[in-house]
Amino acid sequence: MTRFAATFAKPRPALVAFITGGDGDTAANLDALVSGGADVIELGMPFTDPMADGPAIQAANLRSLAKGTTTADLFAIAAAFRQRHSDTPLVLMGYANPMTIRGPEWFADECAKAGVDGVICVDIPSEEDAELGPALRAAGVDPIRLATPTTDAARLPDVLNGAGGFLYYVSVAGITGLQQAAQASIEGAVARLKAATDLPVAVGFGVRTPEQAAQIAKVADGVVVGSAFIDIIAEHGDAAAPHVEAFTRTLADAIHSAKEIAA
């Protein structure tokens, strides 16, 4: 059983936590996420031009790059995480250019060697899957696709074709970290997506509080939180880990107790 399958087989919704690699003490923050109860980790690959991100994650990208973070550093962080945590699924999330610059096979092989389970590439839609998808699947790494409020019924099969791991529902048409979608629209969208796929559905964008997360967890298989962690790291710098862990725990408690899922 893959790490994703084992994680989403648990009888409770999952907390999917995002932080940007190389921003603050990433190893300590990753450990804090796991000990606080995060079920899946998304590690952001910094990029000079993060077009889909709001101010918080943009700033995290620039802080990381200003410290000289390289792609090799990211894979070293990932591989060390896998040594310390054998069960927690790890996802790399980022943009097409850093992922494809040395060729998709190189990237996919590095992911596999580092113990990365899945990859979210923001700016490779299903139409351009050939750019990265075949190499990832060949290496046993799941390409995780995004669905959005603008993804209509006609497109959805294409979005799902070749997808793996879980389906990430971007609940607002916008950028990360700002407004939150209405609960009713999330419920309708998740129902439509779950009717179309057996993949678990995680919902993100604009989720900042345990209360919001618990509401979404009533209908989704997972809840993604990112910018709220980034804000903590921006505030506390290299000493952020205890704060990250405490906040993770409040989120995880809220999400894990939101509903019982039949195992």
Binding site: A52, M99, D123, T148, P149
Partner: protein, 403 residues
């Protein structure tokens, strides 16, 4: 290349690819919208009323056709090929940018969009967009890097006079690529009512195609004008390339004319071993702003800052069709430095009484290099893509003159 199509004018393919370049590398949120834009553009292409309205605005509002001027004094000075200038500098708002803005705002109207956004570097595309937004009575927001806002105050004021809101972008390096990032972010959040007028032949398909089509009026006119003036096609075309919209507009109608040599001019800034904006000479293929193309970047794929004395060429990428034309060898791309462009800016001004944009001065500099090597029976058309009034502060500063 073994599998070149019979015509070089049939690109891109149905998925928006020019060879390996182009494509649609956007977030899923935008994907349905650009598919919708493509559908509307295909319908507009078949609609005679759309074409008639576009042509009427180009004639009566922009002032087309722009003249093809025989630069006799420059020609005699260089002592080689005859040089003609395609006078895009005489268009309303002072450059070729307006051709594309007219076409795109007609598309926006057709799609029922009620708000206009655009990115701008030096402010020329911003001014052209604000102009057509004023003409059509649509609210308009222009994203401009904070660094550019500070150094292009006259254009910022023009845009505001035209009724546009100018947003100073504080992210990243605060220049053109960051303005484009921010425009894309705004668009993602406002796709239901907002049309994004991209200023050059870049971005996700169908933008590189439709901007090229709207700009091809430059080459269509030049072709007819040179046939009338000389009774034959030119031997060479020369145009400056940042994103490359004026260049592709001139080049595209001539791509299948094998006798016509075509030269694109990239901004070499301080030189190719220093800071520059020559994506083909100094970059390699990558993915940014919705398309695959040559980019200035480091070994990890991080985008590096471009530099040119000409703010209109100061971008780390280039339109994907240019990357393709470069790889198949149909167009030769040559670098011209800040210093060479500055010298040609002054030379054209003194010899012809035409103050060119610094972008256009790069093409003039290439013509100065090439024309003396060709016989007097040869003909070169140089795209004078814009006028240089906007650049007098930059030029004065570079020459050590205080105004």
């Amino acid at each position: 290349m073994t599998d070149l199509p019979n015509s070089l004018r049939t690109q891109p393919d149905e998925r928006g690819h020019f060879g390996q370049f182009g494509g649609r590398y956007v977030a899923e949120t935008l994907m349905p919208l650009i598919l919708d834009l493509e559908r509307h553009y295909r319908a507009a292409q078949q609609d005679n009323a759309f074409k008639a309205e576009f042509d009427d605005l180009l004639k009566n509002y922009v002032g087309r056709p722009s003249p093809l001027w025989f630069a006799q004094r420059l020609t005699e000075h260089l002592g080689g090929a005859k040089i003609y200038l395609k006078r895009e500098d005489l268009n309303h708002t002072g450059a070729h940018k307006i051709n594309n803005c007219i076409g795109q705002i007609l598309l926006a109207k057709r799609m029922g969009k009620t708000k206009i956004i655009a990115e701008t570097g030096a402010g020329q595309h911003g001014v052209a967009t604000a102009t057509v937004a004023a003409l059509f009575g649509l609210p308009c927001t222009i994203f401009m890097g904070a660094v550019d806002v500070a150094r292009q105050q006259p254009n910022v004021f023009r845009m505001k006079l035209l009724g546009a809101e100018v947003v100073a972008v504080e992210s990243g390096a605060k220049t053109l690529k960051d303005a484009m990032n921010e425009a894309l972010r705004h668009w993602v959040a406002n796709v239901h009512d907002t049309f994004y007028i991209i200023g050059t032949v870049a971005g996700p398909h169908p933008y590189p195609e439709l901007v090229r089509d709207f700009q091809s009026v430059i080459g269509d006119e030049a072709r007819a004008q040179i046939l009338e003036a000389e009774g034959r096609l030119p031997d060479m075309l020369i145009a400056p390339v940042g994103g490359g919209s004026n260049a592709i507009g001139l080049f595209h109608p001539f791509l299948d004319d094998e006798s016509v040599e075509i030269v694109g001019v990239e901004a070499a800034g301080e030189g190719l071993d220093g800071k520059h904006a020559a994506s083909l000479a100094g970059g390699r293929p990558g993915i940014l702003h919705g398309n695959k193309t040559y980019l200035l970047q480091d070994e990890d794929g991080q985008i590096t800052e471009a530099h040119s004395i000409s703010a209109g060429l100061d971008y780390p990428g280039i339109g994907p069709e240019h990357s393709w034309l470069h790889e198949i060898g149909r167009v030769r791309y040559e670098p011209v430095t800040d210093a060479e462009a500055l010298a040609s800016f002054q030379k054209l001004t003194k010899l012809e009484g035409i103050i060119p944009a610094l972008e256009s001065a790069h093409a003039i500099a290439a013509a100065e290099r090439i024309a003396p090597t060709l016989g007097k029976d040869k003909i070169i058309i140089v795209n004078c893509s814009g006028r240089g009034d906007k650049d007098i502060f930059t030029v004065a500063d570079a020459l050590g003159v205080s105004l």
